[in-house]
Symmetry: C2
């Protein structure tokens, strides 16, 4: 039996303020919960009898068997999917620089939850383990971000930092890449196996404060090259193409 208070609690977690206060986040659906439950402490799990029967050895502080109707009332999704879990946010470690050992991403005020989730999934695919997000980037524990990661959140570490300050503290020989419509054709540039790739805000691109710290300005060529374009690619799309190219060079 699911209490009204529990439903109210779960819905309160749509707000960042409440997630932060409680230090938790919500994830839904069998695939996602099965991935995350091995990586994050689970405070509360709601499940239909069916899914629960298939997962007898769950490590969760509180497990409540619910009917489909109860799950629908608790769910933050349009189409609830068998299981909903409230996980504990991991402690923020002190931010360290990983850009000298491998390739990292930095996100300068990404606003759309779907974009952030998709970018985390792309990072996971290409073995990028650390993403530095500017303080104004959308909250990674926003339920829409969590759902869009499809579980990649279990493997990619997200650090919120004051991005210009953070980049300033990096060793001066650290490659700091960014994409610009007037950058250099990325296929003609040398790309390093380590460093940071900065991706900018959906509407405004990379901010001036960050832009001046970038030491390799890249451009994803459109086709045919001489076709003028005022257009740009979606930021997640651009991230995918760039990460693929960095990784192709290494193989």
């Amino acid at each position: 039996m699911l209490s009204k208070n529990k439903i109210k609690y779960i819905h309160s977690l749509e707000l960042k303020k409440n997630r932060k206060e409680e230090c938790v986040f919500v994830a839904e659906g069998p695939k996602l919960v099965e991935e995350l439950i091995n990586h994050f402490a689970c405070r509360l799990l709601l499940s239909t009898p069916n899914w629960l029967k298939q997962h007898p050895h769950l490590n969760a502080q509180e497990i409540i068997e619910v009917t489909s109707e109860e799950l629908t009332r608790a769910s933050l999704l349009k189409t609830p999917q068998e299981v909903l879990a409230v996980f504990v946010q991991p402690n923020e470690e002190s931010v360290t620089n990983h850009a000298n050992q491998g390739l990292c991403l930095a996100l300068d005020d990404i606003q759309d939850p779907g974009n952030l989730g998709t970018i985390i999934r792309i990072a996971d695919w290409f073995g990028i383990e650390h993403i530095y997000c500017s303080l104004n980037t959308v909250d990674v524990y926003n339920p829409k971000v969590v759902q869009a990661t499809m579980g990649a959140l279990a493997r990619v570490k997200i650090h919120y930092v004051d991005l210009p300050s953070f980049i300033t503290t990096l060793p001066t020989n650290t490659p700091v890449y960014g994409t610009f419509l007037d950058g250099n054709n990325m296929y003609e540039e040398s790309l390093s196996p380590n460093g940071i790739i900065v991706m900018g805000n959906e509407g405004n691109g990379i901010s001036d404060n960050v832009s001046k710290l970038i030491n390799q300005r890249l451009y994803i060529p459109n086709f045919p090259k001489d076709r003028p374009t005022s257009e740009s690619l979606n930021v997640a799309t651009a991230t995918a193409i760039i990460c693929a190219e960095f990784r192709r060079r290494l193989t």
Copy 2:
């Protein structure tokens, strides 16, 4: 003054059935409307006085100056943006094969409007002019698709076809590409400047009926290569990486 009937009419166009009956679609926002108005006949345009003043020579059957409040009531968006237009759907030309002159995309039951819109935008960036959609692919005139194309809809032609039958009618030497988790590393394959790249449904990938018609099975390698993964990339993300690679080979 905006009548209740006009508002009702616009909202009715959220449904495919009504769009089809009226043979129109809705687009909103200055950037999008400015792009599309040169390519599609405009049946009705609602605008705030400000935007209208900046566009004195509009080619539209009916123009109504509206207040912000009226626009909010008519808009299909959460955040209305100055202008809303109802455009006429172009006549469906008889479907012809463009895969022998250049690169085309085929979409096998893409369901998510955001994905279709993003894919059209990617096609535009990479100079792919024709997309063949299976009959169960989401409607390109769905307002969410239209908004996500960011205007690329003006330049990329979308054809709805019975996909297996269509591919069967292509000359036998037409390259038909598809991505599969057990395909060949695309960086090691020869890629043609013409042909069709098939992208599959979000959950199920490429259907069996279409799968057997594919003559080059590709795989986007993850990194590091020996890291096992049960994951996949979002379909729009995968489309972007593949199109970029086909175009890189040509430059």
